[in-house]
Each structure stands twice: as C-alpha cells, then as structure tokens.
Symmetry: C2
C-alpha cells in the first residue's frame, strides 16, 4: 500500500511568485546600507600585454573618490580559488584578455566611481594574442598557460576503438563547431560587502554558489572562514553565469569594504557584464561512428576541444562533464574520447546550463542523423536500436541498473510529435515552394550532480526548525535563482514533516546557516538539498510521531501518517489531530523541533582511462523539433518542440514544465540566434541590441513530456532537471532543418546566412 | 584519571574585548539602512486617565513626518505577549501610568520625529491614581487590575508555622522596604525594524531575549512566526532591563516599518528610557523568625509584596522567584510565605538582576542579624547553625543532595574578611569619634534557571559548524549583553570539540538560527546554552573521533583526546595529529561537521502549597562587607566586600570575578545610592544627574571567592553566576552599618539622611 503524497507531486503555486510579480523582491542593487560606497572596476583594454604603468592619481584626485586600489592592496591571496589557481583578482604584471580586472575604484556614488575608473591610466607593452584554439595548440604559439596552453585533458577508453573501425560496415564522421553563449540573466552581477567589527566581512549578492564566494572572500582578505559570511539575495537568473564569476565581484567589493571600513556595492552594467563574464565555451568536436548495417553502433571516437579563454575558471570540470557524455546516451562497446580545454586570449569560458554537454551533444546527435541517412534508416529507428536500456553500459563502462526511462521517454516524445508522419511528409508546405517543414530528433542523458569529477564537493546540509506557531523555517546550502528550488524543496520539507506546504518558508542561502553544500549547479539541488531536508525532517518527525502516538494511544512501531493538516495512526483511532496541536504539545514537552540534515551523494569511481561510475544516476531526455524554413531568406521558425525527460519524480509537475519551457527557449537561442562576435579578442556586440536572444515571438509550441522512473536514492524518487531541457534542443532543430531542406548545419548558431551559404553549394532535397 | 581541560577553567581573554575597547562594535543606533526612517513615541503625561481625544493632525502636517499612528493602525494584536496579557503596545481608551505609549510618529530624522511626537495632542479625563501598594489593596481603591489590583499571589506552606511560633523560645520580626532600582545600562533601548518583501519583518536590536521579541513582533503585526526574524546587535548592558521592554520597542519599530514599508529605527534618549522602562520592583517585606535559644531557627513567616506598577509585565515570575527564596538558604522546618504583586499607577516593575530576591534577601538577612543580636550570638555562628547543607531541605521541602557548597563558601568569605576580628573590634576608628567601622554578613542562594515557575521555557538549542579551514561558528539562543557569555561558551565549545578557543566564533543571537531557547535571564546561559553546545559538539566529535582513530589505527572504543591543538589516542601511538589535518580529512570524506544541539533543564515540581523541586540546582553565596560610617553626615563608605559563590565550576575564573565585581557594585548602589523619586506618579529624577549610581570612586576593595561544588548536569560542572553577586550585598552593608553604629536600617537605599534620622532616635552603640 503506498501513501498518497499531499505536497510532493502536486503542482503547487511557487512560493516566491507573488513578491516577484508585485516587484517587491529586493535584488542586490536594491539594498542600501548607511555610509555605503560604490565600487567600479578598471579593466584591460587589450587581449594580451604587459602592464608597464598604472597611474591612479588622476582618478584619486576626483572629488568623491575614496580610494583607488591595485593588486598591491590585497591583504590576502591574489588568486581566485577554483579548480586551477590561475586567475588573479586584479592583474599583476600581465593581462590575458580584454576585460580583465586591473584596479578598483571606490567612491561616494556609482557615477563618480565609474568616471574615476575611466581616469585610471594603464599603459601596456602589447604581446601577440592567441585568439584561436588551433593557433593556441601550435608549438610556436605564444604561451599563456603552462607549457602547452592546455588547461586540462581527458581520455575515455572503452573496448578497442581500432578493432571497432576494422569491423565496421558503415563509418560516418563529422566536424562540428559551436560559438559562445551568453547567460543573459535579467540581473547583472552585483555584490554588496559589509565589514564587521571584528575585521570580518558579510557579503550580500546575486549568486549560485555562496560557498565558492566564501572561499574567495576569505582568500582575498586573508581572514579565517568563520569571519566571512555570504548571504544570497534574490537572484535574477544564473544559468551557470553566477557560479564562478560572483566570487570575483564579491572579492572586489570585500576588498574595497575592508580597506575603507564601509559597506561597498558593486553592480555591473550590462556591457561590463558581457565583457567580463565567463561564457559558454566555444566547442570543436570531431566525431566518428563505426556501425553495422543493421544499425548497431559498435564504435564511437570523439575529439572534443573547448576554448577556455584566458583563465581556467571551471573549464576542467566543464570539460569533464562534456567528455563523460560525449558518446551520447548509447550502448556502444568501443569508445575513445579525447578532450582538452585550451587557453586563448579571450574572455574565459565557464559554467553554463549543460556544462560542456550541449556542444558535444550537438555533434553526436547530428552525426547520428547523418549515420541514419547513410544507413537509409529512420533516425528514430537508429536511436531505438542504440539507446541505453537497463543492463546496458555507458561509455565509462557504468552499468545502468535502475531509473533509466530513455526508451519510454523517447517513444513518448516521438508519439507526441507525430514523428513518423511528419518525417515522411512532403517537405514543401506552400504553393510557391519557399517554406519547408521538417522534424528532427535528439536524445541525451545527464549525470545528476557533480559525479566522480566533483565527488568531494557532492554533499549538502540543511537546517529545519518548526516554530512556536507551527510554521517552519528551512535553511539550505543551495540557492534559488529562478528555477523554483524554494518551491520544490518546501514541498519536500512539508511532505516529510507532515505539515502544510504554505507553512514552510525557506530562508535565503547563508554560509553560516548550513555547512558547505557544494555549488548550486549540475541539476543537483532537488536531489542533494532535498535529501538533506528529508534527513532533518525525519529527525523532527521522531519527536512529532512520539507525541502523536502518545496522544492517540498508539504503539511505538505504528506508523504516524499525515494528510498535510492532521496527523493520524491507522487502525488505532479515527481521530486526526491538527498539526498545530501536535506542535503545541511538543513545545509543552520541551521536545526539540529543530534538526540539522546531511546528505552525501552515492559513491562514484573513475579511472585514468575514464572507466567507472561517473555519476550515481542520470536524467534521460529526448527532443523532437518541428521547424519551418524559409528557403529564400534562410530564416528558421521553430513551430513546435516536444521535450521529454525521465526525471525520476516530478516533485512539482508545473515547475518541471517551467524548467522545460525555459530550457527549450534557451536551447532555441543557442541553436539559431545567439551569436557573440569578437574582433581582435574584443567583444563587438556586448548588449542585447547586438546579441540577440529569443523573445516571446520566438516561443514555439512547447510540449513537455515527463517520465518518472524513480531514483532509489532520490528524494521521493526525484533526479534532476535544471539543465537537460537545453541540451538536446540544438541538434533536434538542426536535424529538423536537414529533414526540411537537406541542409546539414555543422556550426552553431544556425544563422540564416549560414543556411544560404550551404544552399549555394547544395541543391535542396525534394 | 581525569583529563586536564585546555579551555575550560582557564582565564582566557574575552573574545569581544578588542573590538569593544577599540570602539568598533556596532550598537543598534550605529546601524543605518537605506531609506531608513526614525520613530518616536507619544507617551501619557498623567498616571491614570481616560483618553478623550488624540489629535494627530498637528504632527502629521510637519514636513518630514511620514505618519502618525495609534492603536487603530495595529494589524495584529495590541497586547504585549507576556505572562499576563494586559499591557497594550499602544494605549486604547485608558492610560495607567505616566510614560505609557499612546501613539507613534515616524519621520525622516530623529529630530523631526521627536518634535512631531510633542505635537500630538492627547486629551484626558483624569482618574484617581493609585500610587501606593497598600492604598491599592484597600477595598475601596480604584481598580486598575482585575477585582483586587493583585496581579499574582503565592503561598508556600511547609510544616506548621503556628506550632513553630508556639514552640519558639525567641521570636524576632521586622518590616523592610526597598525602592526602585534602575538598570542604568550604558546603552538605552534601541530597535531597528527592516521590512521584508514577503510582508515579514527582521528586527535588529539591543536585547536579552530575542524569542520574547519574536513573540511580540509576530503578535503586533499578526504574521506567522516564520516571517519574523530577530537579531541581537551588540548589547550595551541588560541587567534584566532588556528582558521584557525591548519587545515593546521592537513592536513599535516593526509597526512603523510595516506601515511605511521602510526600515525604521527607534532609539530612546536616557530620559525616555528612565520614564518608560520596567524597574526593579519596590518591595515590602514583613518577616518573623521563631528560634530556639541554641540558635536553631524553627519557623519563618514572610509576607512579601511587590509594587508591580501599571502592568503585570514579569511581576508574576519575579514574585515567584522572590517567594521561593524568601526564607533564605536555611534549613527551617516550618515555613509560611505569602506574597503578592500589586498594581499601582506607576511605571511597571520588571526583571532586574536578582529578580525579586534582593528585596526579600535584604529583609531576611537583616532579621537574621537582629535575631543574632537578640540571641547574643555572633551573626556568623547563627548562620553556621542554620544554613543549608547536603541532606537539608529548603522552604519548598526540596532535599539538597548535590552541589551545595554554602558552608564552604561562607567559611571562606568569613576567613577572607577576617570577620571575627573586625566584628569584635573597637568601632570608633578616629580620635574624634566621628568615623566608625563595622562588618556585616549575608548568605543567599539562587535557583539557577527558570525552575518550576518557567519550566516549559527552560530549554535551549545550539548550532555548531566547523568550517573548511577548521575554524568554528556557533549559534546559540542566549545572548551576550556584557556578561561574557560569548567567551565562556566559546571555551565550552572549544573544549568539547577539541579545537583552540581562538578558532571558535559565536554568531549574534538570531531567532532563525536556533529554536526558542527561552530568555537570557536567571543566570541560566552557561548551564543551558553550555549544555546545548556540548550536545552539538559531541555529535561532531563522533565524526572527528572516527577519523582520528582511522588515522592512528585505533579501535572504536578507544577515547580520542585533544590538547586543544592536536588529537591523539593514548596507548596507540605517540603521534598527535594537528586538528586542522583532521578537519581536512573529515571534509575529504564528506563527513558532517555541523550539528544541532539541545538541552532541556532537569525536571522540577511544585504544588499549590509551594512544595517541590523549585529549581534543579542552586548557586550558594556569602558576602562580607566592611563599611566606614561618618556618624556626623550619615555617609557610608564601603571599604571592602568579600563576595563568595559556589558556582559549580568557573569556566573562566577571570570572567567569574568580573561578574562578581559588577554585581557587587550594582548591589552597593542598591544599598546606598540609587534612589528613584516619584511625585504624583511621575519620575522626578529621570537622569544620572538626579539618580546616582556608583562611580569608580565608590568601588571598594572587592575580594572574589569562588567555590566549585560541581553540578552533576552542569557543563563541566558549572551552575550560574549572573545575579548572585548582587543579591546579598545590601544586607551585608546594612548589617555592617549596624555593627559599626547600632543603627538598623530597614529601608533601602540607606541614604545619609535616613541614617541621621535614626541617629536622632537612637544613641550610638559603643
């Protein structure tokens, strides 16, 4: 007999919607403290050079300026603490990209600070800039990182790839390339640092990862961790862009606050945000499949290069995730994946929803279609043959033994999209023969959490407290950045405590409230914080259940149930006790109604050859895209996207759909629109006038499909959904364009001009 | 074999001393938020009356005024939630004391707010005022509380008091009276309320009891508890004066912040603070002892009346504590104590260090001396015969079975004061015969914590987290108000965790960090929060010890020890592992280094006849005072005070001495100087020009004596020390004056003019 959940699985209203809609939420830039100053950043204007002189005097003289500081004023360490310590908070003798922070100005107003920053004169000796990964890898290239300009490389070796190609009946290969993607969050980077009496620092800001910011502020100030407190303010979007970079902004604000002993705010303009913030890495993928004529893929070889930009930031782990997933969600016996992240004198690449997977998914899902074409087999059929099923093994030789709904989700998506019919239908849809319609598919999988690559960070804490009036507060180590974590986790807390969803409030993330819970990335929040919350709630339930049993005269082993408003024990009494009464009794008995929860992710393993349990569990996804192509202009209209995901359990189906809608649209932008242009290492279009993102006009019909193959260790069976909806969109669209026109795009974004270029070389298919 | 403690028992430096000495600590009035407004309070100017009209228009019209509000604007409940709900946040139809809040003004500056408050016109219909407890108790008196003007009454009945007086060989009796005492904290009442986006409220302020403030703010705004957050700022003294009253100030500030949607600060001037704040209750005690000629006291009868003022505030529990301790720390077979708190149209009485005990201790310790006189026995001897020893029973018939060091502390104090010698010495010490010296004694006991009277509140939580760099943060539910709690509790945390004292930081008290831990009163902080911290630290130690054993190859049952810098296991390895290494390893293993601690006080019991376990444990104290009296002017100079206390264990001996020094001086002020004068119900001297408190010139030689009879359930054996040093000072001084002059003062303070009055009636003894 399974109990029905009263909170989990329900499409309850977002608990932060009202305040957001009413415009009442306070973002960092809305906060003001007494005696507050404003910071501004002086940035490199060239991509590569030696700093020969910094003249701060003209800036310092301006009325209202309280200080101008360089790396020499840093009391702690001048290195952003991340995977690789290479990124100085403020440049010392060298600059490696146009936009790199060199100096900081602090002034009585934002305007004065900005003005003064422009008056700081930096003189350079120019050095030759490396602006392309392939140039960077050349032996005689200028070296900007180590001996070889390679931040990191990985190899995954499964089976015998050479043998596979020898035994292959069909071989396909292709080269694929993707551009930067900008996070385009609504709220730009912003931090407010407030000095404490004891030399400590509290930082309020827009961020995904308070514990990373904690590391950075402790480092730059050289003070103990327990004197640093990081508090997340309402965060207007992250998408990975508030993973590594807020640490820099916070370190800058903290430094200024520390030196002036006054609160200091730094909030970026959109242009500054564009210029300086880590983007999705441009990716270069060479891929080759060995297959049998029956469609069975027996070998996959992938070479994957990420353009890391000037500093490593998160490139090593972005690359790791991309590498692990590079052969797609397929059962392939022989795999060789080689990857590297390469340094260039450009803005650093960093975390972005999908985290190294969209680039390589675009490549392998495109080539799957090309293989199908060559096999004269439907792309659907080819995928059905090869996709991962229970008992299969991934490229890292990880055996999938539970929670794998890929077959199911793929079938549902194809059905919902009416795939076979549209795939085989007449392509031309207007009398003039200008518009063509096509459908494309993709499948993908996504290892939930940090996996073997971030194992030691993959734990989370939570703190719960039921207050005197029976309302509850929850503190957790992950953050809300628009994705609905506050809602979903409040549902989990309510369900486990047995109290109404509305009675649960989640506090802003604060490093002093819960232990380091790792970053809010990798679609790990529901699983990690959800489990930590359950751990805490169960401890509190022991006291609650004890009192309920006492009140109902039940025995110690009889399970106490809740319908969300009342507690009861089946078979003992028909009486249901309102939860408020039970809490009141617990208080009268001085029982502890607070608890500290903890969850460490399931164990993983990983060899130097990339073999092992990469992630404890995967979310499985399938996408069908229907597009209409204007063959005269090259414009592509996405008419419909069916986006399906096996997420174990939808804690809040409506919120899950929201994630799917957002991810689909961001994937659509990645596929067709978003095109950052650099010239001589400088971004030419650092704004939304020049860098186009999808608008409401571009929103296709989005059909969400949710499959629930429960994860045995997920909270109420849930896995994760943050990133998967974006990953497979681009290849599905590109495959649909191919289905519509016969034009195979191997470079993202698929701009109209590129389609017209192909058109010139290739006649339209019938 | 006992382990030596490396942190507990050491006189380590206060961890907040540096910032306080450097003037860096921020008090509430130092905080500023953006868009902040200032509140001011309109108060009753008469002691008793009906409000016939409130004209807010003249105030509202003033430029810079944002609003003027009365009780009609309160969205929640207009009753301060305390023991008895009688005190409105803002007066409705009636005012009951001069100073009662009637309306609130909020303005852009403190000056404008203050000015506008004066412009609010309140018209009254005067009612006859009850200004004296005995008048109040008369049948035909105006009724200001209930049917009889009695807030609360208690009876303690042990044995048969009538029989005792029948069997008595000697009977003494006396009437004693004490005046108000003002807390005279350095920092006046101040609160800053900051509204949250969701309609919630965060309040920062100077306070002892964040959870009381929590109750009040939730009540006045009518919002759930989980939307209210109370954070204590550095608090410049409390002494009980920041127990009940901050709830009113916070409710006022919150109301203004709620109505204006802006941060609002209210900080009282010294005069406003004097006029409005609850004081130590004036006390009236009639006491009668039945004794045998051998000095054995066989009966004690006490009638104890507190002047509660206009509202009940904490009077019922102040009275309860006073009642329980009213027969002193003596083993007396027959006891009758009757007490009541009576309403008058004056400023309310409230919590003050000692909490109803100093008034009655003054009475019974004076009468003990009078009994000794009548018995022709030394006051020392008489006390030795009667004081509580292990196996004895208190007035509530509680058998003392552990941790009773009264005999020991009394003996030590007498020895240190050279009692017998000075007691018997020539009184006149100058040739002219003007100056006389004398010595006086007192003993007292103090039930640690809330006892049976506050049983359901007597629990505390704590939260500990060891951070990545092995520094620790602690959150607790009790507050630092100058007494050194942060230091003592950091020592307990460090000792139990096995880490250096310097690595532990205690966060400001915050109601969202730990569950309701009751008030910071009743000398309960070390015991309650100390035990909660130990509970949390022990949980963390499980993980630490596991890793240490693993690192040293020790078995599961082998105890892991710490010298404060290194962990080690005896008999396994000579190796000691630096604590930072152990913490690092715990992090690498993803072990939880945070925990939530809890402690509920030992059980108590109490019948309607006042019989039972009133408190789980008592601190026992003895005082010897040596005074020099100018018999011409009536001036008394206290030359020396020996103040001894059995506190179970001195966690920090230097801090314990600090508490003794402070308490002695405040007791000296109570005995000799502090004299609040009311005329027609209004305070005539609401400032330190008119209300004298001891200055450095008045500081006698203070000799602290500490006895450590460990409390079995105290943290490292500790009990409590906050209040005891004040309690017995006044009777010891008064007894010393008697010893010097033969003048028996039965009314506090013992002002020179009162001594001279007695002199007129009574010749000097030789």
């Amino acid at each position: 007999m399974t109990r029905k959940n009263f909170a989990v699985g329900q499409s309850l209203a977002r608990n932060d919607a009202r305040e957001k809609v009413l415009g009442r939420m306070l973002y960092t830039d809305d906060y003001e403290f007494g005696n507050m100053l404003y910071g501004a950043t002086v940035r490199a204007t060239i991509p590569h050079g030696l700093i020969t002189r910094i003249d701060i005097e003209p800036a310092r003289k301006i009325a209202g300026v309280f200080g101008v500081y360089t790396f020499r004023d840093i009391p702690g360490t001048n290195i952003l603490p991340l995977v690789i310590g290479d990124y100085p908070f403020l440049a010392e003798e060298k600059v490696l990209f146009a936009g790199q922070p060199i100096a900081l100005v602090v002034a009585e107003s934002r305007e004065v600070a900005g003005l003064a920053a422009k008056k700081v004169k930096v003189e350079y000796q120019n050095l030759p800039a490396v602006l392309d990964v392939f140039q960077s890898l050349k032996e005689n290239s200028p070296k900007i990182y180590g001996q070889d300009n390679i931040f990191k490389r990985y190899r995954i070796v499964k089976g015998n790839i050479e043998k596979a190609f020898r035994q292959a009946e069909i071989v396909v290969e292709g080269k694929y390339q993707t551009n930067y993607q900008v996070h385009s969050y609504l709220e730009t980077q912003a931090m407010l640092a407030v000095p404490a009496a004891d030399g400590g620092m509290t930082v309020y800001g827009s961020m995904q990862c308070p514990f990373y910011v904690h590391d950075a502020v402790a480092a730059v100030l050289g003070i103990p961790y327990n004197k640093v407190r990081i508090v997340q303010t309402t965060t207007g979007g992250g998408f990975g862009g508030k993973e590594d970079v807020p640490s820099i902004v916070a370190a800058h604000a903290s430094l200024l606050a520390y030196l002036t002993r006054r609160p200091v705010k730094i909030a970026y303009s959109r242009e500054e945000d564009f210029i300086s913030m880590s983007k999705r890495h441009p990716g270069y993928v060479e891929i080759k499949y060995a297959a049998k004529k029956n469609g069975k893929i027996i070998g996959a070889q992938v070479k994957y290069i990420l353009d890391g930009g000037a500093f490593a930031t998160l490139s090593p782990i972005v690359l790791w995730r991309g590498t692990v997933h590079a052969a797609g969600p397929y059962s392939i016996e022989n795999v060789l994946i080689e990857s590297m992240a390469v340094a260039t004198n450009k803005v650093p690449g960093g975390a972005f929803r999908g985290f190294g997977q969209p680039q390589v998914c675009f490549a392998n899902e495109s080539l799957i279609d090309e293989l199908a074409q060559k096999l004269e087999m439907s792309p659907k059929k080819l995928r059905e043959i090869n996709i991962l099923k229970i008992g299969d093994r991934t490229a890292t030789n990880q055996k999938i033994t539970y929670s794998c709904g890929l077959e199911k989700v793929f079938a549902k998506v194809c059905r919902q999209a009416d795939y076979e019919k549209i795939y085989r239908a007449e392509k031309t849809i207007d009398k003039e023969g200008i518009y063509r319609r096509g459908i494309g598919l993709s499948v993908s999988f996504y290892g939930v959490g940090l996996g073997a690559g971030g194992r030691y960070l993959d734990r989370a804490g939570a703190y719960l407290q039921i207050q005197k009036d029976a309302t509850t507060i929850v503190a957790m180590g992950n953050t809300e950045m628009g994705q609905g974590a506050l809602t979903v986790l409040a549902q989990i807390a309510a369900e486990t405590l047995g109290v109404p969803y509305e009675s649960v409030k989640i506090l802003p993330a604060d490093t002093t409230r819960v232990p380091d819970s790792g970053p809010t990335v990798a679609s790990r929040t529901t699983l990690m914080s959800g489990n930590a919350i359950i751990d805490a709630a169960r401890q509190i339930r022991q006291n609650i259940d004890y009192i309920v049993r006492q009140m109902l005269g039940a025995k110690n082993n009889q399970p106490v149930l809740s319908d969300g408003k009342n507690y009861f024990v089946k078979g003992v009494s028909r009486k249901k006790i309102p939860y408020q009464e039970v809490i009141k009794k617990c208080y009268a008995e001085r029982l502890n109604l607070s608890a500290n929860g903890w969850y460490a992710a399931e164990e993983t393993s990983f060899t130097d050859e990339g073999q092992g349990i990469a992630y404890p569990v995967y979310t499985y996804s399938a996408v069908a895209a229907i597009v209409k192509v204007n063959t005269l202009t090259g414009e592509v209209v996405v008419e419909k996207i069916v986006s399906g995901h096996d997420i174990g359990r939808a804690i809040n189906p409506q919120q899950a759909e929201g994630q799917i809608q957002g991810g689909v649209l961001q994937g659509l932008g990645y596929a067709l629109l978003e095109n950052l242009v650099l010239k001589d290492g400088k971004i030419v279009n650092p704004n939304f006038a020049g860098y186009l993102i999808p608008t409401t006009d571009d929103v296709p019909e989005i059909v969400p499909v949710i499959v629930e193959e429960k994860c045995p260790f997920g909270p109420y069976g849930a896995k994760g959904l943050g990133e998967p909806p974006l990953i497979g969109v681009a290849p599905a669209i590109v495959n649909a364009i191919y289905n519509a026109t016969g034009w195979r795009i191997r470079e993202l974004p698929a701009l109209p001009e590129k389609l017209l270029e192909i058109k010139e070389k290739l006649p339209l298919t019938k």
